[in-house]
């Protein structure tokens, strides 16, 4: 297995720059997920690592070696395409053997590897079938098998689950995680689904408009998003954003005015801010609880009153959608036993330890407390 380092990588089509200054280090055996909305450049970046797209600027190293000019086959990588890209005219065995034949492996060696991979992926009974005789899930496993037999240094996955139905997606996700553990392989995985990213990745790289927004472990991204984009992209349902104005800022905390007269202390590092600035408070739905009765008076200003517009019942919890008087729309996660109806007027209380502060440019202030 191997390490990968992207230094200052960029990509332009003519004068149109689509990737800016990508810096990333991938450790041996890590599963790194590139995630982001359509058009953020994640697939382009993956193809650059693969060698299917030329690199405009910067350096790509695999195992310390600069591979910018190397064709895909010489980089020691294998790629699983979104559409699986199986060779329609070859059997499953033929599909898996193709790369090995090119590499000059002996017949015995080929057979052994194919059989081993097929067994691991439970497709050994399909070896003589053609792709068109297989289901979507089976085809995907053949695509993975084709990659495995080449024993590459690096596995690349381009949205491998997006063509599967929901149930199969969950099942395959778990299998991929198991595969990663078994092979102890370095993998780069592209998806637009943040749930996939959160569950599979050792580390996640959130991309937007050709730039890396943040790279870190799933929990890091969730609890300490570097900016507004990451905060809204990761986490379902989306984080609540409340406009506010700073009153006093220090390294220990920021005092903000949420609505007229209401002031709150957010435990974040405000040294970069000045009083009187517009900011946004980020509150995750699980940090908003339905206030009962009088509630804690000291929390008065963290209470938002409004009317319930929608309730999504998930069983173990409910998602309660509330519209406040000033037009603010909030989502709160309430325990499953909560009984509420559409139209009820309720108050939502925010846990101050769960507050995020984003400045006018969307940058997050570092949180000093965790909730």
């Amino acid at each position: 297995m191997s390490t990968v380092r992207l230094s200052n990588l960029s990509k332009s089509y003519g004068s149109n720059r689509v990737l800016h200054d990508i810096d990333l280090e991938i450790a041996d055996g890590e599963l790194v997920v590139l995630v982001g909305p359509s058009g953020c450049g994640k697939s382009t970046l993956l193809r650059m690592i693969c060698g299917l797209e030329p690199i405009t600027g910067g350096e790509l190293r695999i195992d310390g070696q600069v591979v910018n000019e190397l064709p895909p086959a010489r980089r020691g990588i294998a790629m699983v395409f979104q559409s699986y890209a199986l060779y329609p005219h070859m059997t499953v065995r033929g599909n898996m053997a193709f790369g090995l034949q090119i590499a000059g492996a002996s017949r015995a060696d080929r057979e052994a590897r194919i059989l081993a991979a097929a067994k691991a992926l439970h497709i050994d009974h399909l070896l003589d079938r053609r792709p068109r005789e297989l289901s979507g899930g089976q085809r995907q496993r053949v695509a993975i098998g084709r990659a495995i037999v080449r024993q590459p240094k690096l596995f690349l996955f381009d949205e491998p689950l997006s063509n599967l139905d929901a149930a199969l997606r969950v099942k395959t996700r778990i299998e991929l995680a198991r595969l990663h553990r078994e092979l102890a392989a370095t993998m780069v995985y592209v998806t637009h689904d943040q749930v996939e990213a959160m569950t599979l990745g050792d580390r996640i790289v959130v991309m937007h408009e050709g730039r890396v927004q943040q790279a870190g472990s799933p929990l890091e991204l969730y609890e300490h998003p570097a900016n507004r984009f990451v905060a809204t992209f990761i986490g379902s349902p989306t984080i609540n954003l409340v406009p506010a104005t700073t009153q006093a800022c220090s390294a220990a905390g920021i005092r903000v005015e949420v609505h007229a007269g209401c002031v709150v202390d957010a435990p974040t590092d405000g040294s970069a801010l000045a009083p009187g600035q517009r900011v946004e408070l980020g509150i995750r739905p699980e940090h908003l609880s339905v206030a009962d009765g009088a509630g804690d008076p000291s929390r008065e200003c963290l209470r938002f009153g409004g009317e319930v517009t929608l309730i999504e019942q998930l069983g173990e919890s409910h998602l309660v959608y509330v519209r406040c008087a000033d037009g603010l729309e909030l989502v709160a996660r309430a325990p499953g036993h909560t009984r509420l109806r559409i139209g009820d007027r309720i108050g939502l209380e925010a846990d101050p330890r769960g507050l995020h502060v984003f400045d006018a440019d969307g940058r997050a202030c570092r949180r000093t407390a965790a909730a």
Binding site: L52, A78, Q82, A85, Y87, F98, G99, R130, R146, R150
Partner: protein, 304 residues
């Protein structure tokens, strides 16, 4: 999901069926039947069984003409298969490569001759190759091959080959387009997967692209076969019904025309023409049958 049939279906289908049956299917059957009749010198037509066919195959005069036309036709087909189709394959393969600038312009130009009338083509080339005009001779002089020039169209041993190449020149467009369409239908990711596995351009062509377009290549071949054994227009335009010099360019189509309509002193015979048409039909049927029953199925299996 098909709808249950109603009289609507009949109304929709009837006009097409009527015209097709009346002017294509029935005439063919009628011709096959007519081949079994003979016209004697008084013009009286009577049932004659296989007499016409016996004449065609065993009468020295008829057999000679038939054999000559048949052999010429086979050579005609062979040259098309060996020249037209590989050239079309090469051009289509080049056109379908990614990043070829001006591919659209090339496509447009390459398809042009196919649209032109055979008469035009025939005459244009006749003029160009004519020793009287001397254009070809001048052009060959430029490349230093001036003394290789000859009145190829007029010489018995080169006439057929020359006319065949003119036909190839004209009809490369059709297999070109068909093969091109098949090549671009191959998903790009499949080719990329092969690249990632280390396949170079040659290997990708032989192991990936070619197998996947085999059904199309088969189709191209059978269309060429049918078209070639039916050919008439070009020969007639360039050489007239006599397909000279000395029948060197005679094909089954021209022989059929002459037999049917007669030429010079020989009077035409509808029944002999019909018999000849029957033989042509059998040849074409054999070829098409062979293709569909044997070859096509195998090609489909390979292409997956």
């Amino acid at each position: 999901m098909k709808q249950k049939a109603s009289w609507h279906a009949a109304v929709f289908l009837a006009p097409a069926l009527i015209v097709y049956t009346a002017f294509s299917a029935w005439p063919l059957l009628a011709t096959l039947r007519l081949g079994l009749y003979a016209t004697d010198d008084t013009g009286h037509v009577a049932f004659a069984g296989l007499a016409n066919f016996q004449k065609l195959l065993f009468d020295e005069h008829w057999w000679g003409a038939f054999r000559n036309a048949m052999i010429n036709n086979i050579e005609f087909f062979a040259i098309h298969t060996l020249v037209q189709n590989p050239v079309a394959l090469l051009l289509a393969a080049l056109l379908s490569l990614r990043g070829v600038r001006g591919a659209a312009a090339y496509r447009t130009v390459l398809f042009l001759p196919t649209l032109l009338s055979v008469v035009i083509i025939g005459f244009a080339w006749q003029l160009i190759l004519s020793p009287l005009w001397g254009v070809s001779e001048k052009l060959m002089d430029l490349v230093g091959l001036g003394d290789q020039f000859g009145p190829w169209l007029g010489q018995e041993d080169t006439a057929l080959r020359t006319i065949t190449l003119i036909s190839v020149w004209q009809f490369v467009g059709v297999p070109l387009m068909l093969i091109y369409a098949a090549l671009i239908a191959i998903p790009e990711e499949v080719v990329e997967a092969a690249q990632v596995e280390g396949a170079g351009p040659w290997r990708i062509f032989w192991r990936i692209r070619l197998p996947l377009i085999l059904p199309t290549l088969g189709l191209v071949n059978i269309l060429t076969f049918v078209g070639n054994f039916n050919a008439f227009d070009l020969i007639y335009a360039v050489k007239g019904a006599l397909a000279g010099p000395n029948f060197a360019t005679d094909l089954l189509g021209t022989l059929f025309y002459r037999t049917f309509f007669g030429y010079q002193s020989e009077v035409g015979s509808a029944t002999m023409g019909a018999a000849l048409a029957t033989l042509m039909f059998l040849v074409i049927l054999a070829g098409v049958g062979l293709y569909f029953l044997v070859i096509q199925r195998r090609l489909q299996r390979v292409a997956g």
